[in-house]
């Protein structure tokens, strides 16, 4: 191993031993889980969901949880050359020795890495080719709301919040006799656990036109609809997270101050699948912060939430934290567009580098279509407050390719950015900076735009060109249409797409999210080889009565609600946040999940 580590870049990725990492002895009758993230260490270590599960599982006797990340290509080459199977960081045991290998699937461009990791581990890729000798290969995370493109490779998916369902699963496995238990019987039993989706227990049929005709259970244990698991109260935030040596992507202590968001932006999957809103109390947050900082020595604390300014006690939380921890940097992701957020940021940021806001669309009409309840006035007042209080840099996030979008809306982006810039000039002169980041909409399952065709590159490119031209003097970044196509096709794919993923991996695709590894031509070839058309999945406008490949996986909100939101978007009708009083009947209340 030494010989290998000396040759690879960033060997610290593969050695473990970080503060708060947990190395347990492997005793008899323990259930062992490898928690895997299909990207490099620096990215995988930043995944909050896996941190929560690592903590929760290792707290229990009789359970061992260890980590594994995708080796970079130099390490992969060495492992293959030496015939060393992929191993965990804690005990350096081969993944094949574990009872479960659990992947976090947060989005689609990491799918091929799953296959590569299984292959490196010597585990058969196809669930159908695995048996009682192999680990159960499972997945959770937001990409599982359409699990179909990966259905061939996983024994089961955990849909929704994982904190309880993972323990249910471990108990079931233990009860069934652990390793060596009959795989088919085990999976059928697992299917009875709420939130567990066993894809092999469903048959998918297709219509002449290539759409899904029906998804039907083939075993009595499999329920026609799998509804996501929701934990009633927020489980405690881990207070002894691993402190990486390496500079990882999110290199800071994190407290989830709130889960869920009910603002109802219509492009946003997260705003749909993490409902209801559950706040952590100020007292708990302050206590947790004390413990976290004492256990990690972190210099930065992030208050994680989909909409940080929406926490009802955020002002007091931030004030107290800043007072108690004078040298601590506090970061507030996802600030709302208002002067309150600016005041909040001012109370903690010593160095006024930059503030980021997301108006998402350039005109009021289009912002109403996407239900982003923000006006131009809101944005300009916010800019006024920010530049006025000493910030010199504002970053604005927009999207193009939104339904009903016209050139006028794109011009609106330029108009807004310039107005913000002139506010900045007035306060800060030439120091004032605006940067604009424009993403292309990737319609995601369970969002009200799940039926929408993604805009084709032929019309996206001219919009990007126009913005490039018109935004001179403003920093501008955009998304490459090719990787948007792949992500869009995969995110709304059906089960047949598993063959495409397999084929693409066989032809060398991996690290698809890394620009130096992107192989759009190879992917097109893979689609072609398997007789599928990516445009069918990415660009096609679906009708509301089409059976969608993920209809049997329910995010908790009803299809009726999502369809209603889609129809309202066409009318440009706003749906107010239900916290302001009026229930928008998303379906969560019927689930008994509380809201």
């Amino acid at each position: 191993m030494d010989r290998i580590l000396r040759k690879v870049a960033r060997p610290g990725r593969y050695v473990g031993g970080e503060w708060n990492s947990i190395v347990k002895d492997w005793r008899e009758n323990e259930v062992r889980l490898a928690l895997a993230y299909p990207d490099v260490y620096e990215i995988g270590m930043s995944n909050f969901g896996l941190q929560i599960l690592y903590d929760l599982l290792n707290r229990r006797d009789g359970i061992v949880a260890e980590r594994c990340y995708a080796p970079w290509t130099d390490m992969e080459a060495e492992l293959r050359k030496q015939g060393i199977p992929l191993f965990s960081l804690e005990s350096r045991r081969p993944l094949a020795d574990f009872d479960f290998v659990g992947f976090s699937l947060s989005y689609e461009l990491i799918f091929t890495n799953v296959l590569n990791m299984l292959n490196l581990a010597g585990i058969p890729l196809l669930a159908a080719e695995r048996d009682a000798r192999h680990p159960l290969v499972i997945a959770g995370g937001s990409a599982c709301y359409n699990a179909e493109p990966m259905a061939d490779f996983f024994d089961l998916f955990a849909i929704g919040e994982g904190e309880e369902v993972i323990l249910d699963l471990v108990e079931l496995y233990r009860g069934a006799g652990g390793k060596g238990a009959d795989r088919t019987a085990l999976l059928r039993q697992a299917a009875t656990i709420p939130g567990i989706y066993v894809p092999s227990l469903y048959r998918v049929t297709y219509s002449q036109d290539g759409t899904v005709k029906e998804v039907t259970p083939t075993a009595p244990e499999a329920s026609p609809v799998i509804t996501r698991r929701i934990v009633k109260a927020l489980p405690p935030t881990p207070t002894m997270p691993i402190v990486p040596f390496m500079n990882v992507v999110h290199d800071r202590a994190m407290i989830e101050i709130q889960r869920g968001c009910t603002r109802g932006c219509r492009f946003c999957q997260a705003g749909m699948i993490y409902r209801p809103v559950r706040e952590r109390s100020k007292e708990e947050i302050l206590r947790t912060a004390n413990e976290l900082l004492a256990n990690t020595g972190a210099e930065e604390l992030s208050l994680v939430s989909l909409s940080t300014s929406d926490h009802s006690e955020i002002e007091g939380i931030v004030r107290e934290l800043a007072a108690r921890h004078p040298n601590l940097n506090i970061s507030l992701p996802s600030l709302r567009i208002d002067s309150f957020s600016v005041a909040l940021a001012e109370s903690i940021q010593r160095r006024k580098t930059g503030l980021t806001f997301a108006p998402e669309a350039g005109t009021q009409r289009l912002r109403d279509v996407i239900n982003k309840g923000v006006t131009e006035d809101d944005l300009l007042k916010t800019a006024e407050a920010a530049y006025g209080r000493g910030w010199s840099q504002i970053k604005l996030y927009f999207m193009i390719g939104l339904p009903t979008e016209t050139m006028e809306d794109v011009e609106g982006i330029v108009d807004l950015a310039r107005k913000v810039k002139s506010v900045g000039r007035r306060h800060q002169g030439h120091r004032a900076q605006v940067s604009v980041s424009v993403a292309t909409l990737i319609p995601k399952p369970d969002s009200p735009f799940q039926w929408v065709g993604q805009e084709r590159p032929e019309t996206v490119r001219p919009k990007q060109e126009y913005l490039k031209q018109m935004l001179r003097g403003i920093r501008f970044s955009w998304h490459d249409p090719e990787s948007s196509l792949l992500e869009a096709a995969l995110s709304r794919g059906d089960r047949r797409m598993g063959k495409v993923v397999l084929r693409a991996w066989q032809m060398g695709c991996k690290f698809d999210a890394w620009s130096e590894h992107q192989k759009p031509d190879v992917w097109l070839q893979a689609f072609h080889d398997e007789g599928l058309d990516p445009a069918f999945y990415a660009y096609r406008q679906r009708s509301l009565d089409e059976v969608l490949p993920w209809d049997h996986i329910a995010g908790g909100i009803t299809r009726k609600f999502v369809a209603r939101e889609y129809e309202r978007s066409a009318q440009g009708e706003l749906t107010p946040d239900c916290r302001s009083g009026k229930c928008s009947a998303c379906g969560l209340r019927q689930l008994g999940a509380g809201c």
């Binding site: 050695v15 503060w19 990690t296 020595g297 210099e299």
Partner: protein, 215 residues
């Protein structure tokens, strides 16, 4: 404000952790330990911690030196006690003592690094000795080093103070003293490559740092 000089070892377990990563780990462990760190002034205050010389990746260190500025009245012994329970596997504190806050920086006082290399080679002692002799006799040793995207050419010879065989039959050990000052630092792996021994290297450790003797 006091200045503490900490002697520590970075073991085999940590030898793949880079210098910058180790610095961050030190800052975090000092904060966990509740050591009252002195912070720099300015918009972005950071603790005043400095290490004498970075260790190359893959090399362990037995007596590394680091200066830390602290506030408060705690004695060096007490600070050491506070640090102990926070040390990750592979990191050990060897000594903590107070030095004058006005003294020159560690980096400016550093002169040499001593290394010891475990070899596993079929070559005879005499063969290795003659390679060492030839290398030391050379007036210049041109080497190339990949740095990011650039290839840098430099002369290794002035960076070598001495190389000798520390032990042979009880275990093949080569020792070297390499220059390490503001003018440049020799890398043990480069010396081993120049000796044509790189494929026989089992382990490299830095056994000590030599500071300038001050009267």
């Amino acid at each position: 404000m006091k200045r503490l000089r900490i002697t520590f070892s970075k073991g085999e377990e940590l030898k793949y952790i880079s210098h910058l990563d180790l610095m961050r780990a030190w800052e975090r462990l000092l904060r966990r330990a509740g050591v009252p760190l002195a912070y720099s002034k300015g918009f972005n205050p950071h603790p005043k911690v400095s290490v004498a010389a970075p260790l190359p990746i893959g090399v362990s260190g037995e007596a590394e030196l680091m200066d830390v500025f602290v506030e408060g009245e705690e004695t060096p012994a007490r600070i050491r006690e506070m640090m102990e329970p926070q040390l990750p596997r592979g990191l050990r504190v060897v000594d903590v003592r107070e030095v004058s806050a006005e003294a020159p920086s560690l980096q400016s006082e550093l002169r040499f690094s001593d290394y010891e290399v475990d070899l596993a080679t079929p070559l005879s002692r005499e063969a290795v000795e003659s390679r060492v002799k030839a290398l030391l006799a050379a007036s210049s040793i041109e080497r190339e080093r990949q740095r990011d995207r650039e290839v840098r050419r430099y002369d290794l010879r002035p960076l070598i103070d001495d190389i000798w065989i520390a032990e042979w039959n009880g275990g093949q050990k080569l020792a070297m003293r390499l220059r390490a000052d503001v003018g440049g630092a020799g890398r043990p792996d480069e010396v081993l490559a120049a000796l044509g021994l790189e494929e026989y290297v089992k382990r490299i450790r830095r056994t000590g740092l030599v500071l300038e003797e001050r009267g």
